[in-house]
């Protein structure tokens, strides 16, 4: 089965490992990810904060390209890209005048027919159908992840309905349980890591991350797992600094969900590029005899 795929800027730069992992893991699940041609940046939150027209027009161009691909579904692994694209699709559906205005400028017009899926939409259905269980080489016994959703996977700046619970989502837990891991119950799963504030308002971001890390440690998680490249790089690259500022003694590896799937499916740590983490992730996996 083939589905369209929008990687977004992060997955072609600092989170390239997530791009590689997504393709590998999905192939193993019988899904070929077909990257849409000539995609552009979705504008992320920067467009919304600067120009309302662009915040819709930029994702709209990608939607036009995706509609023209002839495929019926598109995976967007990055939470920010997923959020912006889904919101745009809804705005354009409700505002045909704006849609026409944007379509005039596009070589591939938005039709609004492609279904936008987050990585959890697809993985949860594969967990429920038992297809993930079929592909398992080993169970992730002893792994106690704090499933970290962040903001943009469940909350939208508009009335968008999702299948999971907004305040206490369970999708990532469902997938982790299918892999034999024991996700912990905790209170900060949908709290904000600060996103771009890590760069432009660092103290605020460090404070927000400290609360998330402290709660995960108190609940005895031994790692984080996330689906968002911004959450991953913030919690991973800044964890040293957070721990130093807030006197936190222990560090927790921050896995992409695809890394846990990959390890359970028998991919090597090299194949999953686990050496590209800031907080060591190999030690824990070795200790638990998972690699």
């Amino acid at each position: 089965m083939q589905i369209a795929y929008y990687p977004g800027c992060s997955l072609h730069a600092s989170s390239e490992l997530y791009d590689i992992q997504c393709k590998k893991v999905f192939r193993q699940l019988g899904i070929e990810l077909k990257e849409i041609e000539d995609w552009n940046c979705c504008g992320a939150t920067s467009a919304s904060k600067t120009d309302d027209f662009l915040s819709v027009a930029l994702p709209a161009r990608n939607l036009g390209i995706a509609d023209a691909s002839g495929l019926s579904e598109m995976l967007i692994p990055c939470s920010s890209c997923y959020n912006r694209t889904l919101v745009t699709q809804k705005i354009l559906y409700e505002d045909p005048e704006l849609k026409n205005k944007i379509n005039i400028e596009l070589s591939k017009k938005v039709e609004g027919k492609i279904r936008i899926s987050s990585i959890l939409d697809i993985l949860v259905s594969k967990a429920d159908s038992g297809e993930i269980a079929e592909k398992l080489i080993k169970k992730l016994e002893g792994l106690k992840p704090a499933c970290y959703y962040g903001c943009l996977l469940t909350r939208f700046p508009g009335d968008i309905k999702i299948s999971d619970n907004i305040e206490n989502p369970q999708g990532m837990e469902t997938v982790c349980k299918a892999l034999g891991a024991e996700p912990i119950d905790w209170s900060y799963k949908t709290d904000c890591c600060g996103a771009s504030a890590a760069v432009n308002d660092t103290d605020t971001s460090l404070f927000l991350m400290s609360k998330i890390i402290k709660d995960a440690l108190e609940r005895e998680a031994n790692c984080f797992v996330t689906t968002c490249p911004m959450c991953q790089i913030n919690m991973d690259a800044y964890q040293d600094q957070v721990c130093e500022c807030y006197g936190i003694q222990k560090k927790l590896p921050v896995f992409f969900i695809t890394e846990l799937l990959g390890i359970a499916m028998g991919f090597t740590p090299q194949g999953m590029q686990l050496d590209r983490h800031f907080v060591d992730s190999l030690g824990l996996l070795k200790e638990l005899k998972l690699i």
Partner: protein, 204 residues
């Protein structure tokens, strides 16, 4: 708030509230100050002004305060306030609108780095169609350095900022998370047209 006595001049407050409501698409008048937004705001403790306070400022027509408070600039756009609001008011959208109004009015932002971040992000998108992180950080730091030198932060402030990012940059390089290749869109003319239209829309 500007004074201890509550002052309300309907004719003065009308233009601001109308502008914010129409641009943000949020019905501010539906706010009945239940403060669920304030309870959930991750930066509320730091900013002092919480979403409910901001809405009240706008309703009272306190333009200057509404455009110059920490919430507008520290809002992390997590959308918690909006999803918890019983009347579906997205204060994060209101903050976005206020940032835009503030920029159009050439008001110096309370957190200039936040404003520089988003400006540079969009500028790069207009040039390449995609955001290249390395070029992005370079331009963003140049913008910050220029401002520090102009407004008296001096070379020390510039050096401190650079040192922080250089440290992160080095560890990103070590972890092969730094990307040197320049990504760009092929049909850039389409991107340029969208940016031109955005400018026309704003002008009109």
């Amino acid at each position: 708030m500007s004074s201890s006595v509550l002052q309300f001049e309907p004719e003065l407050s009308q233009p601001l509230i109308q502008e914010v409501m129409s641009r943000s698409g949020q019905n501010l008048l539906a706010c009945y100050q239940c403060r669920r937004c304030a309870a959930g705001c991750p930066v509320g403790d730091e900013t002092g002004v919480t979403p409910d306070r901001l809405i009240r400022m706008i309703i009272l027509g306190e333009r200057e305060e509404a455009l110059n408070n920490l919430l507008v600039w520290k809002c992390v756009a997590c959308y918690t306030c909006g999803t918890r609001c019983p009347n579906n008011i997205q204060t994060a959208r209101i903050n976005e609108t206020l940032k835009q109004i503030s920029k159009e009015a050439h008001i110096e932002p309370l957190l200039p780095k936040v404003s520089a971040f988003h400006d540079v992000f969009l500028r790069l998108t207009s040039h390449f169609g995609r955001v290249n992180e390395l070029v992005f950080i370079g331009l963003y730091e140049m913008r910050n350095a220029k401002r520090e030198l102009k407004h008296g932060g001096g070379w020390k402030a510039v050096a401190d900022e650079m040192k922080n990012h250089a440290k992160l940059g080095i560890s990103m390089m070590k972890k092969k998370r730094m990307h040197f290749q320049l990504n760009r869109v092929k049909r850039l003319s389409e991107i340029k047209r969208l940016f031109k239209k955005a400018k026309d829309e704003a002008g009109g």
